[in-house]
Symmetry: C2
DNA sequence: GCCATATATTGACATATAGCTATTATCATA
DNA sequence: TATGATAATAGCTATATGTCAATATATGGC
């Protein structure tokens, strides 16, 4: 461990980081953003991809919308979600890197 | 975003990752592991470093012990804590990297 | 054993979260 | 406008979480 490189995380960043990873600290939400990482997806696509009830998917998406992790846009009768918080990709890649 | 590199996170890893980042998804716990990242620290050192009551620090440490994120060893009348989950460093560095 | 210091645990309480069912909104199209 | 598909929300129960005050448990020195 290279301690010399450990600089303190600034309070505001730390606070936002805690908020983001708190949201991602749930298996289903983590799966949802993993799906969204590949590009926009509708609620039903997400639902199929991870196999949980529509209402639950919507609830998780609503929470993640609430802290600006994902955003939605209507497309006809669909609503397409996408990740808008760049740190999410960092976190997912970080998890992948641990998978040695 | 290089989508070609996005490989799926394995279920077991994803589940453990969710557990870890759930624990880190709290500002005080994030501060605690940030302190511990620099090396072992006693409860009172942590308490001083981040400025919250001793009982709260102990409670957070107990929860993180519970999911094998930190470990403790007694040293005289002190108890020294350290990070034992390597992913924690990855996550902290990931947060730092976002701090552009 | 007694005292001071360091840490852990407990109980109480408020709030947050998760998941379920049912219902409601929104849109496209017949 | 009626209908089917898609998505969001409401109401509910159960459980988890966060915090505090108080108490309990080490440990070391006298």
């Amino acid at each position: 461990m290279k301690r010399a490189l450990l600089r303190r995380i600034e309070p505001v960043l730390l606070s936002r980081a805690a908020e983001i990873i708190k949201m991602l600290g749930h298996p289903e939400r983590l799966k949802i953003v993993e799906v969204l990482e590949r590009g926009e997806a509708t609620v039903s696509e997400i639902q199929e991809a991870i196999g949980i009830p529509q209402a639950i998917v919507s609830q998780h998406l609503a929470r993640m919308r609430g802290c600006n992790i994902v955003a939605a846009r209507r497309d006809g009768s669909y609503v397409r979600y996408r990740v808008i918080e760049p740190k999410v990709h960092h976190v997912l890649n970080c998890i992948r890197e641990c998978d040695a």
